[in-house]
């Protein structure tokens, strides 16, 4: 009773703060925690019930791991996992090289106003939606009107039906993703370059180090902690694909699914197109569980490097 009394006293004492977290907590309940509980339907054969969400879940039949067994018995699980991980891997590696390179180039350009203008232009694609980017890409790749096929026919090559030839898409998607995100990442690295202690460069100059040596022996080493952290955090998210890139840019073209289907698009199509609720929930849960493990693991490694930069 005493404990209960103290509990209520604490509640009253903290009531202003509790009221402040209330809206957010309600939101988290409905949009995060209830869906987490809802993953239970990946172990069920989902049947929609008129009596609402709870009834739908309770009345659906348990099927154990059948949904997972079915998912992993098809080739789909392999393809979507491979696509997701390989694309993200390419994005991480190439993104790191290009954005660090670009950040160093931008920081070294003597005319700062020019450098700022370049930055503004390079950062721009980040602010556009994938739908818009999809149109941009279409203006280049359209079979009969696209710029690329016009150039090809100009040099005497037959036009290519881009939206049905899967072999080009791994390159196209990597390029488009670089195009959209390189500005964002190089701005982060640029901020770090600008933050490097100037006295380090002065000391290097006194030792007679030229600009190249300064870049190699000061700038890059000073960026390594940030590179490590951003890379590890990206690795932690390697199981999550950018839905817009893989859905909008290839215009949802069925002929390209073998190279554009990732976990996120698979789950979406399972929900909206084929209606395989149980199996797509299972695929989503598979993504969340592996993703969770990877985040924990990468955060653990980040902590080893630098406690301040860890997520938790």
């Amino acid at each position: 009773m005493n404990m209960l009394g103290r509990f209520f006293r604490d509640i009253i004492k903290n009531k202003a703060m509790l009221l402040m977290v209330l809206p957010g907590t309600i939101w988290f309940f409905f949009f995060s925690y209830l869906p987490m509980a809802g993953t239970i339907i990946s172990f069920k054969e989902y049947r929609y019930s008129r009596d609402g969400f709870l009834a739908s879940i309770l009345e659906s039949k348990w099927v154990g791991l059948d949904n997972f067994k079915f998912l992993f018995s098809t080739n789909d699980a392999y393809i979507i996992t491979r696509n997701t991980v390989l694309y993200n891997g390419a994005f991480i590696i190439l993104g790191l090289i290009f954005s660090v390179g670009l950040a160093i180039i931008l920081s070294e350009i003597i005319n700062k106003r020019l450098s700022k203008s370049y930055q503004t232009a390079i950062f721009m694609p980040y602010f556009l939606s994938w739908v818009i980017v999809g149109y941009f890409v279409f203006s280049f790749l359209s079979l009969d009107k696209g710029l690329l096929n016009q150039i090809l026919s100009y040099v005497g090559i037959d036009p290519i039906n881009w939206y049905s030839e899967s072999k080009y898409w791994p390159y196209i998607l990597v390029m488009i993703n670089m195009w959209k995100l390189i500005g964002y990442n190089s701005v982060i690295y640029l901020a770090a370059v600008i933050g490097i202690d100037k006295s380090l460069y002065e000391a290097a100059m006194i030792d007679g180090a030229n600009k190249w040596r300064q870049i190699r022996h000061i700038t890059i080493p000073m960026l390594i902690p940030l590179m490590t952290i951003l890379t590890l955090l990206a690795v932690g998210r390697i199981f999550y694909a950018d839905f817009g890139l893989f859905y909008q840019v290839p215009r949802d073209s069925g002929m390209l699914y073998s190279v554009t289907n990732v976990i996120d698009t698979y789950v979406y199509r399972g929900l909206k197109t084929s209606g395989e609720i149980g199996m797509s929930t299972a695929a989503g849960l598979y993504q969340s569980v592996v993703g969770f493990t990877l985040v924990i693991l990468s955060n653990y490694i980040v902590r080893k490097f630098n406690k301040d930069n860890a997520l938790f």
Binding site: T25, F53, E108, Q287
Partner: protein, 305 residues
Amino acid sequence: MSKNKTKTRDFQRLSPAWNIVFNIIAAVVAFVCVFPFLFVLIISFTDENTLAKNGYQLIPEKWSVEAYRYIIETGESLMRAYSVTIFITVVGTIVSLIFITLYAYAISRKSFKYRHFFSFVALFTMLFNGGLVPTYIVVTQVLHLKDNIWALILPMTVNAFYIMIMRTFFSTMIPDAIIESGRIDGASELQTFVRLVLPLSLPGIATIALFNTLGYWNDWFNALLYIDKPGLVPLQAMLMRIESSMQFIMQNSTNASLNTGILQTMPQDTSRMAMVVLATGPIILAYPFFQRYFVQGLTVGAVKE
């Protein structure tokens, strides 16, 4: 002395030749980044017949403003999509800011006994989520938001990452003494927050507001999931729907007899691109002004408590 000075400068700066090389590289990348937008802009001003004959060209044979004229004349659905987008952007950003700042402020306060618990409640959602399907079921069957404008707002209201950014901001930028002074003056917690803390937190709030505004303006995913009613479709989702056919733009039109005629004479290809320009325009125009806050926000996000 002066000789020494020039020598130092030589070391400090890139050699002129390399400076030119670096400028060329950066300029090429910058050009590649803006070129597609310019290209779509050109296409939107191309004459439809020229386009049908020659394809998308950098320098069209014949220019035309026909596409824009048609959009404005039959603009009902574009206007509606614009107003849906503006509504969700404004309301969404405001609601979002209220939820996020209140939550973040509470968990930043050391005097709040349950701050660790509520920090965990937020943080855990960054690590694990139920996935798309259960979320979809909750939104449509528990909250019954299918074909409701709030389905475009609520799913994006709170984001644990923004809460963490704001919490860091509050705990590093707001001195305890200020909060203390509020208490001495007899202000309630909420009054202290609104009158003393918020005015000092405007840079942080501006950053979060920008992230939110951009997120709502560019969102098409929630519309793809939850919206079938043509009248509730936001700009980006409308662009998605006219990808294959301009039919959609007519669905809203009240004048049914007008529809088929217009659709036949409508410069379809160019007006599609004109819509892309009109949807992107506001962002591109506003972007140079808010870029600074964005960069600032990215660097705030990199610092942690």
